[in-house]
Assembly symmetry: C2
Homo-oligomer: 225 residues x 2
DNA sequence: ATGGTTGTTTGATTTAGATCAAGGTGGCAA
DNA sequence: TTGCCACCTTGATCTAAATCAAACAACCAT
């Protein structure tokens, strides 16, 4: 799998829409595939690096570590999403740790080359600025969640924000990671998440089956948050 | 004070360094002064707006409100710092509330005009991208702080991050806002902050005198965090 | 199958911090 | 001076969630 990625593998990602084929071809020529096993680390915080990435299959976990080694998950990155774009402006060092949660295929883009493109392509710059603005905005609301809401409220909001399959007034959600990981993302312990789940189950608003959760009363649910 | 701001009033701000005089003059021609009384609101979250701002004197408070009306301060913006640049990419709506903590003078920049400049000026784009990266990075560490540390640790880190006057091994810090505001910024209640302060005072590591705090043992202090 | 490893649940206990409540303190205006 | 108001402090109580501990389930590799 050391072939050069094809344009159609990444042209639909937000950042690359509206770019012309010639430019996409240039980008493709400097990009390469990267495969990770489940649990494999891609980079650590402060590692020097000159790539940013697009997830094609699988899920990446971005996280920080406290001194005592406990990790806090900041973000789960799924299919067709970019991560680590900021490495281009952070002096070539990653600001977080990144590891695969399952077997994962990525496209790696050359940061220096891309930075050069930015210099001569205003549309690309604006697309990236819009991308960063979205990220800033989501981080701000994340901070808000962490300070103003209880663990249960945060879980409910998280669940409602997840993509769901809708069946006759109910929503079926597939958790994109283990419950410990979700707990870390929500800033709570696995035990607390487990208790939140059983409380909501007892109240009859959700059904839990391994990583699949059915929201029986989305409206009652919305009221909690 | 409805005169056009002079280039020298803003040329030192991070974003504007390295820009040539002609460009700065164009920017100045579309900018204007804005004055706020203590406590005055500049904009509310979701307000449509087409300006972003530079603080020349005073302090701005950026915050969010929960349904019950309680506010959470996200950031205090002091002299020579920009805020609300993201309005250019957020569809012309502000993502937070902004109010002055004291009498404050701002320079307001025209977002649409600036967006136009970005389209034709790669250096400006890159400067703004670097600015946004810094912001993303500080938000990420902020999230980290909120989830992995106690209120006391957060306060200590905050205090050490503040600009200080150093006198014979001690640091003197002037809090940039009332203690309730600082408490909100740290994600704790005013009562808890008050208790943290008296605890540290009893331990003999700080001296508190109204909004002035002297860190007597910066090294012992660093160990707490 | 068997054991080992990892993730999940449940219960008992502890704790940081919120909440409720009551006094201080200081600045400012009449 | 007096009173008012906003801010800060201190104390008592309450609570969400962490921690500690143990059992349990699921999955994999030998």
């Amino acid at each position: 799998m050391s072939t050069i990625p094809d344009i159609k593998d990444f042209r639909l990602a937000y950042l690359f829409r509206d770019l012309d084929r010639a430019l996409l071809a240039q980008i493709a020529a400097r990009a390469c595939w990267r495969e990770l096993d489940a649990g494999e680390t891609l980079f650590a915080k402060n590692d020097p690096g000159k790539w940013f990435f697009l997830v094609k299959t699988g899920t990446m976990k971005l996280y920080l570590l406290a001194e005592e080694g406990q990790e806090h998950v900041l973000e789960l990155v799924g299919r067709e999403h970019l991560f680590a774009e900021a490495v281009m402006f952070m002096g070539g060092r990653y600001a977080v740790h990144a590891a695969a949660l399952e077997p994962t295929r990525l496209i790696a883009f050359d940061a220096d080359f891309f930075l050069g493109l930015l210099r001569s392509n205003a549309d690309l710059c604006l697309a990236l600025l819009a991308d960063m603005s979205r990220r800033v905005h989501s981080l701000v609301t994340e901070i808000d969640r962490l300070t103003l809401q209880t663990g249960e409220q945060r879980f409910v909001q998280y669940l409602l924000a997840q993509p769901a399959q809708k069946i006759s007034g109910t929503r079926m959600v597939r958790l994109p990671a283990s419950k410990q990981t979700i707990a870390s993302l929500l800033g709570i312990t696995p035990e607390t998440l487990s208790r939140i789940l059983s409380r909501l189950r007892d109240q009859g608003v959700i059904q839990v089956n391994a990583e699949t959760i059915v929201v029986l009363k989305p409206d009652a649910f919305t009221r909690i948050s």
